[in-house]
């Protein structure tokens, strides 16, 4: 729960927050960048018509009006969204935020071909033409502004119960209409939040300063910030970052602390550590088009054989992960504990069942096959990869490990031309909806053979299950509780088919310096920089 800032908190205003990451996360363009480190920045610099509440716990999953005065008036069976734009708000450049800026921003999303325009925003009327010729995008009839009434109407080709969540993400940030229709690179975008990006050098640092034109219009969507400046440095090694945070030379590091420093943090710096569950998990994807995992028995055998407790320990101990074996993470709508892949099957995972796993491998006729396990070269993932290689050997395969650069982990795993049989990766929610896990990870539409952008890495495709998922999405509009029940059933069906094996749900560890107060954590965007004070 956020505290209202009345007088007492004025005393905490001022100072600088010093952050650090080993490396920057690429372009600074909010309509292009898809990295959580930078979404954290956009959370305090950019706004859309809607936004996620800057709050902890479940409240943080709530969509609230941001630059719009209120939540949209939804009509035409869920296909029309009417927004009233707040008046009198300005960009950090001093320009007033107008209806024209909103319309131009939605067009720009397509002109710069943001990563998800083809999947999340393609239901806007006119999006098809924009995807074909982005540079000429007008979204004609799709996003309609009325400057006099200060309204924006978005027309969709079909109802989408998750559209409000999708436009509350940084991709739908409102920028000035004259923002260049190409990747901004290192040029800071005009801001609307309490902070603006003053400078950005990807090899050195990013500096955020107060936005001189900001005034708080909604405490829920965009509260004012405490510190005057935020300095985000790049290039420090992880070990050094931890030491500097402990010593107070840095206030926070974006990178997870090295494993061998965790004990020290847990013993000597307990007051500096903050642990929060995420809607995210590590999972093993199994290629349903390649032997041996084109056989459901082989997939189930692996899921049964994995000791998730070991994986959790390799990740940093029980404080940082919770064993799971279903596809929906705890905390999401539709989640109901379910675990068929455990000794003495129960709602929750308890222990591996090697004997049954070996029997399944034998029954599948795949015993003795060669299997290459692909994982990244990050220390944690490689450790888990080596452990899982031993699991594969234990149940009757001849397994080897192939570790690749973390930078290409997902694109490599996603491209079916690489013939990956089995690999380790993770998934973090984009927005808090069951479809962001089940539909995105396992629908036929998410599988693009031969493409680096095929999120459905297992290549699993079952039109009947796809239809059930679309049904659940449609039901969300009218009967959310019924939709939750549908998602629960779909989760169980997919878990039983085991196209992927979930290992553990991730808890995030943040370590802040002793001088940082009022640490607040959004379940979607994590540490909320604007809420922290250093005075």
């Amino acid at each position: 729960m956020l505290l209202p800032c009345i007088g007492w908190c004025q005393a905490h205003r001022g100072g600088e927050l010093h952050l650090s990451a080993y490396q920057a996360s690429g372009t600074i363009d909010p309509q292009i960048n898809y990295e959580s480190d930078f979404w954290q920045i956009y959370f305090v610099t950019q706004d859309g018509l809607l936004g996620f509440r800057k709050a902890e716990g479940k409240e943080g999953l709530e969509v609230v009006p941001d630059l719009a005065e209120a939540l949209p008036e939804i009509g035409d069976g869920g296909k029309t969204y009417l927004f009233h734009l707040r008046r009198g708000l300005k960009f950090s450049t001093g320009q007033e935020i107008t209806v024209g800026d909103v319309v131009a921003s939605y067009r720009r999303m397509f002109k710069v071909l943001g990563p998800n325009v083809g999947s999340w925003y393609n239901i806007i009327v006119g999006a098809d033409a924009c995807l074909k010729t982005p540079q000429d995008c007008t979204l004609d009839g799709g996003v309609v502004g009325d400057a006099q009434a200060s309204t924006v109407t978005i027309h969709l080709t079909r109802a989408d119960s998750e559209f409000s969540q999708k436009i509350a993400l940084p991709f739908a940030s409102i920028l000035p209409a004259d923002t260049p229709p190409h990747d901004l690179g290192t040029t800071p975008p005009a801001a609307t939040g309490p902070y603006m990006i003053q400078s950005y050098n990807p090899v050195r640092q990013m500096v955020l300063a107060r936005n001189p034109y900001f005034h708080q219009w909604s405490e829920a969507a965009q509260p004012d910030g405490f510190v005057d400046r935020i300095i985000y440095r790049y290039g420090l090694q992880n070990e050094s970052e931890v030491t500097e945070v402990e010593n107070g030379a840095l206030d926070w590091e974006a990178d997870p602390p090295p494993l061998d420093r965790l004990s020290e943090i847990g013993a000597d710096y307990t007051k500096l550590a903050h642990i929060h569950p995420l809607l995210a998990y590590y999972y093993v994807t199994m290629n349903t088009h390649l032997a041996p995992f084109d056989n459901v028995l082989a997939r189930r055998a692996f899921a049964l054989a994995v000791n998730r407790k070991v994986a959790v320990n390799l990740y940093g101990g029980p404080a940082l992960g919770t064993p799971i074996c279903q596809l929906l993470p705890a905390g999401l709508a539709g989640y109901a504990p379910y675990c068929p892949f455990t000794k003495n099957p129960d709602a929750r995972w308890s222990a591996p069942d090697l004997a049954t796993a070996r029997a399944l491998v034998k029954a599948s006729g795949t015993a003795g096959m060669k299997v290459t396990f692909v994982c990244s070269d990050r220390e944690v993932e490689r450790s888990i990869g080596i452990y899982l290689q031993s699991v594969l050997n234990d149940i009757g395969y001849q397994a080897s490990v192939h570790s690749i650069s973390y930078n290409i982990r997902d694109t490599y795993l996603q491209n079916s031309s690489n013939h990956v049989q089995i690999g380790l990766t993770d998934w973090y929610q984009d927005y808090p909806s069951p479809s962001d896990f089940l539909d995105v990870l396992l629908s036929c539409a998410s599988f693009h053979p031969g493409s680096d952008a095929s999120i459905n890495m297992s290549g699993f495709c079952d039109p009947a299950i796809d239809a059930r998922m679309q049904g659940a999405i449609a039901t969300e509009l009218t009967d959310p509780e019924a939709a939750d029940r549908q998602w629960t059933e779909i989760d169980r069906t997919l878990t039983d088919l085991a196209p992927l094996t979930t290992l553990f749900q991730i808890n995030k560890l943040d370590v802040v310096s002793p001088r940082v107060g009022h640490f607040r954590f959004s379940p979607l965007f994590h540490f909320i920089f604007s809420e922290a004070w250093v005075k």
């Binding site: 004990s263 943090i265 307990t270 452990y387 031993s390 050997n393």
Partner: protein
């Protein structure tokens, strides 16, 4: 100095009289035997399989059952650490991040490191000898071709070339016609390391052969119509052999370092196999909690490389009297 016997006997006597070289040789023999005994150690002393993760296992030490992976004893339950040195048969040097016996892996790793370095050295000297002798003796366009090829190879920084080859070959394995070499086959690092140092040996060999080819006894043989093959085998090779022998320990030391570097970068020996480089990489993540995992193989590399270099110096002094004179 006893001048009785042939040149090889004299060289051996000189070497035997070099105390530092002898100590080095003893250390090397000890390391080789220790490494070769790795399977026996793992089976009869450590009682573990050093290639299989043992993260949920336990071991009995002085009558107490201790977990291999020990959860951190802190209020936040953050982190865990593998068991440290027990100074007993099992887990003598503790466990690595996968719960495997470090001492047993150190011995297996030594075997692989020495095998790769030794084999790569043999490969390197073989190719270097052929290239240097053929180029130096035949001269003309053959010399031009060989020399330019060596120049091209030399133009690449050694580690850059080794890393580039490793990244490509070890990530995918090697397929040449019907022959397939899997990515985890030790032949790949042996071949890569063996190739990159060829110019460093071939160049001086070629220079020596150029000089030998103008010597009286070779010119006389040519004048008498002795076939080239016989001259190469009877006159040139025996004179080049001491150079190759002197190079052997020095190149092996370099190869050992290169192998360790590649394995440390995960592009040498592949898991679950071990080499000293992979064990250092395993220990890197435990440097605060279990420093011995990285320090032990690091020390092993240092000792072996030092011994190889000292022994190499001794060999040079024994086989090259002029060098000995210079030293005196």
């Amino acid at each position: 100095m006893n001048s009785a016997g042939g040149p090889w006997t004299i060289a051996f006597q000189r070497l035997a009289g070099d105390r530092a070289a002898m100590v080095s040789a003893f250390v090397l023999i000890l390391v080789v035997f220790a490494s070769a005994s790795a399977p026996l150690y793992a089976r009869f002393v450590a009682h573990t399989d050093p290639f299989r993760p043992n993260l949920d296992g336990s071991v009995v030490i002085d009558g107490r059952i201790e977990d291999i992976l020990q959860p951190a004893d802190n209020p936040l339950h953050l982190g865990s650490a593998p068991i440290g040195p027990t100074w007993h048969g099992a887990y003598f040097l503790g466990a690595d991040g996968q719960g495997r016996d470090v001492a047993a892996r150190l011995l297996y790793g030594g075997f692989n490191s020495l095998l790769i370095a030794g084999s790569a050295t043999a490969l390197c000297l073989f190719f270097a000898a052929i290239a240097g002798i053929v180029a130096g003796f035949l001269g003309g366009w053959v010399d031009q071709v060989f020399s330019r090829l060596l120049d091209i190879l030399w133009a690449f920084p050694v580690y850059l070339l080794a890393i580039s080859l490793s990244v490509v070959l070890i990530s995918q394995g090697l397929k040449i016609g019907p022959i397939t070499i899997e990515a985890d086959n030790l032949l790949l690092p042996i071949a890569i390391i063996g190739i990159v140092y060829v110019p460093y040996v071939a160049r001086p060999v070629r220079g020596q052969v150029l000089s030998l080819a103008q010597s009286d006894f070779v010119l006389a043989a040519v004048g008498l119509g002795v076939p080239n093959r016989r001259i190469l085998l009877r006159d040139i090779l025996p004179n080049v052999a001491p150079t190759l022998i002197v190079f052997a320990p020095l190149v092996m030391a370099l190869n050992l370092l290169t192998e360790s570097a590649l394995s440390f970068l995960q592009i040498g020996v592949q898991p679950p196999a071990a080499s000293w480089g992979t064990i250092i990489a395993d220990g890197q993540t435990l440097i605060y909690s279990r420093p011995l995992v990285a320090i032990a193989p690091g020390l092993a590399i240092m000792v072996v490389v030092l011994a190889l270099n000292v022994f190499g110096d001794g060999l040079r002094d024994a086989l090259d009297p002029r060098a000995k004179l210079r030293v005196q």
